[in-house]
């Protein structure tokens, strides 16, 4: 069973994502901020991380993504950034941080599932 780590500060959005993923067979883990998400990534070793970009605290999604992709132990983890910011420069910032995919809110749950399936299948 593929492991997915959801890192998102909005509890409602986390629930929506969890509900979406529960239609398929995934082992789901959750974190509410970037620092916790990074710690959980090391502990859980997920196949894929869903990372909100704007989160309160010391690390935002871009910083977590950058650290994951620069950590030899974690760089294999696929990262999907979730964000309300869909401008070209935001997508570029995601690419620079090493993200594998960039979904702009409000995203479709179907699109989310498809993206996760595609990335975890090619992993």
């Amino acid at each position: 069973m593929k492991r997915v780590l959801i890192v998102e500060d909005q509890a409602d959005i986390r629930k929506l994502i969890r509900m979406t993923l529960e239609f398929e067979a995934y082992e789901i883990h959750e974190a509410a901020d970037g620092a916790t998400g990074l710690r959980m990534a090391s502990a859980v070793r997920p196949d894929l991380m869903l990372l909100d970009v704007m989160m309160p605290g010391e690390l935002d999604g871009l910083q977590v993504c950058h650290r994951v992709k620069n950590d030899p132990e974690l760089q294999h983890v696929k990262v999907v950034l979730l964000t309300a910011r869909g401008q070209v420069r935001d997508c570029d910032a995601g690419s620079r941080a090493g993200a594998d995919e960039y979904l702009v809110k409000p995203f479709s749950p179907l699109q989310l599932i498809d993206t996760i399936e595609r990335l975890t299948t090619t992993a």
Binding site: L16, P56, E58, K105, P106, S108, P109
Partner: protein, 362 residues
Amino acid sequence: MHPTLAEILENQKSGLLWVSQDGIVRYANGDACSRTGLAAGGKLYDPDLARAVAQAAISRISGAVTAPGRPRAPGEVIPDLNCRIVPGLSKDDAFVFIRDDNSADPNVAFNNLLQIIRSDLREPVQNVLSGLNSLDPEIAHRAGPLMEEVREIGEVLDKLVELAGIWSSGALLASDRIELWSLLQQAWAEVQPQAVKRDIKVRFMAHDELANLATLYGSEPWLRRVFLECLESAIRAARHGSSLLIEHRQLGPRALIVFRDSGVFSGATQGIEMSPLKPNASGRPDPKNASTRLGLQLCRHVLSLHGGQLREEIEEGERQFLIDLPTGAPHRTSDPQIDIAQAQRYASDLAALMARSRRTKA
């Protein structure tokens, strides 16, 4: 209904009705109940809304109507509600998202006052200044103190307009991704000529690797303005030829910009409480003091809308002036609309998701 879905619908910040094609309410969250008086089992009373719901359910097309709501108290005006109707989870239902009609501007009096300040005070002062600038040099020399006073009044009015302009605007609700160190350096580049002119040396120090400093989300232009105000104030207060130390500290989820032993806003703060407007020798309020106080107010307001604050601390007898900001996501007093949009998107795709899941499992 899935309990999580019920919780999400109930926690929508706008009113939400789940209505069947015939106008019978299947579910109404608390906000929708209070705005419309409708509850589960009730029937839509507005024909336009009922028609839009039927159309959304049958033709699966979203729509929008304005419908009368329930007065907040007996005798009050019936509010107009902006209703957005989206097709529901099956072929015979729809969702109605309800918001107040915000077209009326409640700040008319405030805007009128601002208009008076702009057109009846600031513009004449600017005209006087430009007139004084074109005076014969000898007369201009004699009018120097007068020009200086008019210029200071102009500065106060400029700041007042600026402060009033952001007080209730959405300008501060921006979500720019901001690196504070870089922003501080940008502000410094603007202020540096003033420091050079007074032979004041400023040293900046970050207490961590720059790459490790947290970012924050907010209004970059307004936070730059805060830094400018504080840097200018520090330079004004510093002795000719002295040195200033400005530090960037990271304390968990907070970023601190510390002006060490500087006189930032020293004429306007007493433990950051506003001091009374001090009269000058002529017995009139000192415009310099007013300008500083307005600058301080501007900074306090911008920072408070970012969840931050200005603070003063005494460390080993030194007065430290601190800009204290939370790092990370934008500080908001209300939940962002994106949650609602995401829930709407989820609701519209839920049926397709369930069908897909059934296909996969079969």
